[in-house]
């Protein structure tokens, strides 16, 4: 019998709350998150405004809610790019012969030489700063880790008896990849996606801080944090809410990744 995995539960709950918050924000927020009302600027938290208002008189809670969409968008795009490129590459590298495989993995290592932040800054210079360009850059930079993890998983699958049997029966590589390899590495993909998600959320915050992140007026936790700097002494709450939101989101995705890993990896199971 399996014990309840605390990381999985905690991570799942946190991620669930963020997704729910994003969904709810499409149909309802306490106030319009971008509505400017100078007469109530910098209001302290109250019944009307649970988290108070910012320097534009915008409701902070509403912004946090709508900002969760940006956070999820950031993660989905980055992870999507990384997975769409990295997973097939990893499987391919596991299935082809030694030299082509070596080539793929070397090319993979080469991409590692361009860290996410560097790519994002370069892309920002070429295509202009926007959430999308930054996230595609982060996604590309995350390709190598996907490819590596998936390759090692796929190698194991390739050695299993049913794959060996399928190959002996003369099945083509393509159906083997889709039928046998891919389903058996989905757990690895989920774990890696979760970890990459957390990295992307942190990267968005760092890029917003440098001015390469989400442009206004779209609410983003990273930019809220960046804009709050002027108020660190007069209204530190403006930094606390987005800062805590980012930390919780990253924590949630990391925990989820850890929990999934423990659950999928039988070798680790007896450690708990």
């Amino acid at each position: 019998m399996r014990r309840l995995n605390p990381s999985l539960v905690a991570g799942g709950v946190i991620v669930g709350i963020i997704v729910l918050m994003a969904l709810v924000s499409f149909i309802w927020t306490p106030y319009d998150a971008t509505f400017v009302d100078p007469s109530i600027r910098l209001a302290k938290p109250s019944w009307e405004h649970w988290f108070g208002t910012d320097k534009f008189g915008r409701d902070v809670l509403s912004q946090i809610m709508v900002g969760s969409r940006t956070t999820l968008f950031v993660g989905v795009v980055a992870v999507g790019v990384a997975a769409v490129i990295g997973v097939p590459l990893g499987i391919l590298a596991a299935m082809v012969r030694r030299w082509p495989s070596e080539f793929i993995m070397r090319a993979n290592d080469l991409v590692l030489a361009f860290p996410a932040l560097l790519l994002a800054i370069m892309f920002g210079a070429v295509f202009g700063a926007s959430t999308l360009t930054a996230m595609i850059a982060i996604g590309i930079a995350s390709v190598p880790s996907f490819a590596r993890v998936i390759r090692s998983g796929a190698l194991q699958v390739m050695r299993t008896e049913y794959v060996l049997a399928a190959r002996a029966a003369g099945r083509q590589p393509w159906p083997i990849a889709v039928r046998h390899v891919l389903p058996n590495v989905t757990s690895l993909i989920t774990v890696q996606a979760s970890v990459s998600f957390a990295i992307a959320v942190l990267a968005e915050a760092a890029l917003s801080f440098l001015g390469f992140g989400t442009p206004p007026p779209t609410p983003s936790w990273g930019r809220m944090l960046q804009e709050s700097q002027e108020f660190l002494f007069s209204a530190p709450r403006l930094a606390i809410f987005p800062g805590v939101a980012i930390a919780i989101a990253v924590l949630g995705f990391n925990l989820l990744g850890d929990g999934l890993r423990d659950r999928f990896d039988p070798k680790l199971e007896d450690r708990r």
Binding site: V36, D37, K55, Q229, F231, S234
Partner: protein, 507 residues
């Protein structure tokens, strides 16, 4: 003033200043006040930080406000300069006379000035410097020298400059970087080794961090107080505030984060200076767009904006509301804020009448903190009046300059024009405002060629015309905000020149 070059240069510098002009003065060796020689400050030193570091030290080929701010008046001097009240006063020229036809200027030069490469300053250096603007300078501002027909040295201390037509503006521009005096043998390495006659000489540049100036002991005028001044550059306004709070520096020259000012106003260790600048924050209209052809639309936009609330929101209420393109320090300033008072109901009905209601305007904002902030308020206020506004951020400077400034591919934008006396340059058919108004041009031409009274009178008419025609909306005037340790003296109340005058600073 009317050369297209001059006009085109404006926003670069304008914005660079507003984005960047943070000055901070720091006591590097505070306390070590053993007196060395003639100067009251002995070997005391000070360090001044700015937000945007210059890309080069050569303002003849590199645009941007950071270079003249550091070097003009400190390392380089001009023939004439502006005093605190904006009056043109002697500098390297002891005095000057103007011919009756107002086309020939004769300058009497000081005879004891010398460059830091030990060459004396003479009238032939002045001729060289003036001619060099036309030949070797590449920044667009050089157009201010186009009106000069010829310059010649009558004697080592006498210079004669002839203009092709009378121009009040020319002498004024001679107080700016255009008027800087160079040595013929000192222009080989302008980008890295500036040589001038000023109270300070260039010592070294730690790229990415600071520029160090040292007292010029061979200076011909009153020697400055400090032995050494370091200009330190901070990209982050919060870091700048922290540097002052922790005593790393002693003065913040222009506060970039006005909301954080309360840390200093509530602490009696610091003095806070609040004055005016030349930086008009302009909500510019692309007057060539059909929607702006109707004066009712333009006026309605001005009336839909609650300027007081806007200033409170995006610049913590610091700064001054102005109703036109003239700062209070100019002789022709008038309070024109009553021409378009905030009136939401009237704005709504005017937009209905002009047919603009419900239309979408593209507000292309440079990625500068004040523009981003004010843009969001403008959007919200205009939408209450019945317009739709789409904000599109443009990376500053490169993307904004290309899209908005060069190609005028925008409906509205927000930028601070910090150039002194830039009314005529900004509102012009060739400029990005695409404002084509012969009446305005008549007033400006009369102001440039007339006598002093005619100049003031015509400039007043021009400013009023702009405001009544609603050629743009003047959101507010950037404040000169300085925070400093209590004991620093000689800080300017108003920032009306291109340079930060280091020679008057003392402790």
């Amino acid at each position: 003033m009317k050369s297209p070059f001059n006009k085109l240069a404006l926003p670069t510098r304008a914005v660079a200043f507003a984005a960047a002009a943070v000055l901070a003065v720091s006591a590097c060796s505070a306390g070590s006040s053993t007196s060395s020689g003639s100067s009251p400050g002995g070997d005391q030193s000070l360090s001044i930080g700015l937000v945007a570091e210059p890309a080069s030290l050569d303002f003849t080929t590199t645009d941007g406000a950071a270079i003249p701010q550091a070097l003009l008046g400190n390392v380089y001097e001009s023939l004439v300069k502006q005093d605190d009240s904006g009056k043109i006063v002697p500098s390297l020229a002891k005095s000057w006379t103007v011919s009756p036809d107002r086309k020939t200027y004769t300058f009497d030069l000081v005879d004891n000035a010398k460059f830091t490469n030990d060459k004396p300053f003479t009238a032939s250096d002045a001729v060289f410097s003036i001619n060099r603007v036309k030949s070797a300078w590449t920044i667009s501002l050089k157009g201010a020298m186009d009106v000069v027909a010829g310059a010649k040295a009558l004697s080592p201390t006498q210079l004669e400059v002839t203009l092709s037509k009378p121009s009040n503006d020319w002498l004024f521009r001679m107080t700016t970087r255009i008027g800087a005096m160079f040595s013929e043998s000192g222009v080989a390495k302008l980008a890295t080794d500036p040589i001038g006659t000023g109270p300070y000489k260039f010592s070294k540049w730690n790229r990415g961090d600071s520029i160090v100036l040292e007292r010029n002991d061979g200076y011909w005028g009153t020697k400055p107080f400090f032995h050494q001044i370091t200009l330190k550059y901070f990209k982050d306004p919060t870091a700048l505030n922290n540097a002052l709070l922790t005593g790393t520096i002693n003065v913040i020259g222009t506060v970039q984060a006005p909301e954080a000012l309360s840390q200093f106003t509530s602490n009696d260790k610091y003095q806070v200076i609040e004055g005016t600048t030349n930086g008009e924050v302009l909500l510019s209209f692309n007057n060539s767009r059909p929607i702006f052809k109707d004066i009712r639309t333009r006026q309605a936009i001005r009336m839909a904006i609650d300027h007081k609330a806007l200033l409170d929101t995006c610049f913590a209420g610091r700064g001054k509301l102005i109703g036109s393109m003239v700062p209070p320090t100019d002789p022709w300033y008038e309070d024109l804020t009553s021409i378009a008072p905030y009136d939401l109901a009237k704005a709504k009905s005017m937009l209905q009448a002009s047919g603009a209601a419900g239309k979408t305007l593209l507000l292309r904002l440079p990625t500068l903190p004040y523009a981003t902030s004010c843009g969001q308020v403008v959007k919200s206020q205009l939408e209450q009046a019945g317009l739709k506004v789409r904000i599109d951020p443009q990376e500053f400077p490169a993307a904004w300059l290309n899209t908005v400034f060069k190609n005028a591919d925008y409906d509205m934008s927000i930028i601070a024009h910090v150039e002194p006396r830039d009314l005529g340059a900004v509102f012009n058919a060739k400029y990005y405002t695409r404002y084509d108004d012969p009446t305005l041009q008549q007033y400006l031409a009369a102001a440039d060629s007339g006598d002093e009274a005619a100049q003031v009178d015509n400039m007043k008419k021009a400013a009023r015309r702009l405001s009544e025609q609603a050629a743009g909306d003047w959101l507010f005037l950037l404040p000169n905000l300085i925070v400093a340790d209590k004991n620093i003296k000689g800080l300017p109340q108003n920032a009306i020149t291109e340079n930060f005058d280091l020679s008057k600073l003392a402790r």
